[in-house]
């Protein structure tokens, strides 16, 4: 049997993910020491942006992966197994606007729709559809907080952990959309063909 290959997210979940792998007995020193290297053959680990983890796992280029529920919700059509809620990386997807009178509510009332900037167009679209409000979704790739401050949009849908970035930019949370944590995901074919290796890992995980 070949060893499992695990897709590990760089970014906000990176440190806690490496700590978890350490506790599972997977050597991570080389990964900590190498900022640029992406493929760690000995440890069976590949590192990437969190939003790319589902892509690699779905294709079977990695057997397992760790990424946020926010990423999985944004890519909900992917054929993956979501095995475990890892209970770290807690954050919340929120609708936020500038403090004071809610400009999004006013836009909805007077203009019939609100403009919402987000890095998560699918989650945002689904949310406003489900809550019966018209919204024009503006997709941006980063620094979403800028959008309501410059008139690009009345509000934003974004992920927040402590709310610090929102506060620093004079934004307040108006609605909580969904909570997110890190999840362990698996390729469905690997889940069948590498069953004993995956189950052994899950057992060690549950024993922690």
């Amino acid at each position: 049997m070949t060893r499992l290959r695990i897709a590990v997210p760089r970014g906000a979940l990176f440190t806690e993910t490496l700590a978890l792998l350490d506790r599972l007995g997977i050597a991570t020193e080389e990964i900590r020491e190498n900022d640029r290297k992406l493929l760690f053959e000995d440890a069976g680990i590949i590192t990437m942006r969190p939003s790319d983890v589902p892509t690699y796992v779905e294709a079977g280029a990695a057997d397992l992966g760790i990424t946020g529920k926010d990423v999985l919700l944004e890519q909900s059509e992917r054929e993956l197994y979501e095995l475990v809620d890892l209970d770290y990386g807690h954050c919340t997807m929120v609708l936020a606007t500038v403090a004071g009178d809610d400009p999004a509510a006013e836009a909805l009332r007077r203009l019939g729709a609100m403009r919402i900037a987000t890095k998560y167009p699918r989650i945002a679209t689904r949310y406003f559809l489900e809550t019966g409000r018209q919204a024009e979704i503006v997709e941006v790739k980063g620094s979403v907080e800028l959008a309501p401050l410059t008139g690009l949009a009345e509000g934003i849908v974004d992920l927040t952990a402590s709310g610090a970035t929102l506060r620093e930019n004079g934004l307040v949370v108006r609605e909580e959309i969904v909570r997110s944590t890190a999840r362990l995901i698996a390729n469905p074919v690997s889940h069948k063909l590498q069953a004993s290796a995956i189950d052994a890992l899950l057992e060690r995980l549950h024993a922690l």
Binding site: T2, E79, E82, V84, D85, N187, V189, K192, A195
Partner: protein, 328 residues
């Protein structure tokens, strides 16, 4: 300006065609040898034909009007057309009936995902043969076809579509909405979501644990030994199929209690073909004992469909792996 083709469709050029043709010729020889005569049905069927099946994932995606205003669909599988064919052309024929096919099916695709709108399926249908004998025969032909294709490391996951619904019914979970929500989590492979749904049922810890553990149970024949009472009948069915298989076929089987096919018409045994060199299943199959009845010829039936392009990708992956291993 470059003329494009629709996303999810492809042109096939001679090198690829030659390999695909050689592979399907080898598979066709297996189907002929085992008594599955090849049939072909129109790519277009009346929508009313597909409406007879409880279609879910196989819902036809493409509709056109004919000159009289009838709605025609591009076939989304071959099982439904063959059910129609049996009920009309073989109305009085003595079962069992055996058919094979090599035909394109058409499905909708999600954008940017490399999915195919048009894909070639190679498969068989065995009409009028009960479980376990019929199921065992089809699994045996499936293995012969994969062997002939040249695949060496494939495995077949075998489950039972009735298992999980029976388990839910056993625990008194009869509310259709709730069942649907739970089965949706299973079909989506979301075990975290399943845990949330099961947690809301108010079952004893032991029963809840069973509902979570069963769909993640897969492995050799030993997994059937440890099944609790409510699952005994499904386990007996799977064991009966397994007992009829030749060792070479039985050795390929992974029992998979979490295998829930999203195709509405499957009733009993369901199976999927896996290869370690490809991350997605390369074929599916199962029993559909109720479907023929919808066409007025109630007969038990079982079949499989291999996705020929995926089979080719897996075969190429295996060959690449073998040549790597042969290096000094």
């Amino acid at each position: 300006m470059v003329d494009r083709i629709p996303s999810g469709t492809r042109d096939f050029l001679p090198d690829e065609m030659r390999e695909l043709r050689a592979m399907t010729d080898r598979i066709r020889a297996v189907f002929e040898r085992t008594g599955y005569g090849e049939v072909y049905t129109p790519a277009l069927e009346y929508e009313t034909t597909y409406a007879r099946s409880d279609m879910h994932a196989s819902r036809p995606a493409y509709r056109v009007f004919d000159e009289l205003g009838n709605v025609l669909v591009l076939r989304s599988d071959m099982t439904v057309p063959i059910a129609r064919l049996v009920a009309t052309r073989y109305r009085d024929a003595e079962p069992p009936l055996r058919f094979s096919y090599f035909a394109h099916a058409y499905r909708s695709v999600r954008p940017q995902r490399g999915q195919s709108r048009e894909f070639l399926q190679a498969g068989i249908e065995l009409i009028g043969a009960e479980s376990p004998e019929g199921t065992a025969e089809v699994l045996s032909v499936l293995c012969q076809a994969l062997d002939a294709a040249g695949l060496e490391t494939y495995r077949i996951g075998l489950g039972d579509a009735s298992l999980y619904p029976a388990l839910l019914a056993r625990f008194g979970i009869n509310d259709a909405d709730r069942q649907e929500r739970i089965l949706t989590e299973l079909v989506n492979g979301d075990f975290v979501g399943l845990q949330t749904e099961v947690g809301a049922l108010g079952l004893s810890a032991e029963d809840a644990e069973l509902l979570l553990r069963v769909p993640q149970t897969r492995g050799g024949p030993e997994v059937l030994k440890t099944l609790p009472g409510p699952l005994e009948s499904a386990a007996t069915g799977m064991r009966a199929v397994h007992d009829l298989l030749a060792p070479a076929v039985a050795g390929r089987i992974i029992f998979d209690l979490g295998l829930v096919r999203s195709l509405g018409y499957y009733t009993g045994a369901v199976f999927q073909v896996y290869d370690p060199d490809y991350g997605v299943p390369i074929g599916i199959g199962g029993r559909y004992d109720e479907l023929l009845g919808q066409f007025g010829r109630p007969l038990p039936a079982v079949g499989f469909a291999l996705n020929v392009e995926r089979l080719h990708i897996a075969l190429t992956g295996e060959e690449r792996g073998r040549s790597r291993r042969q290096l000094p």
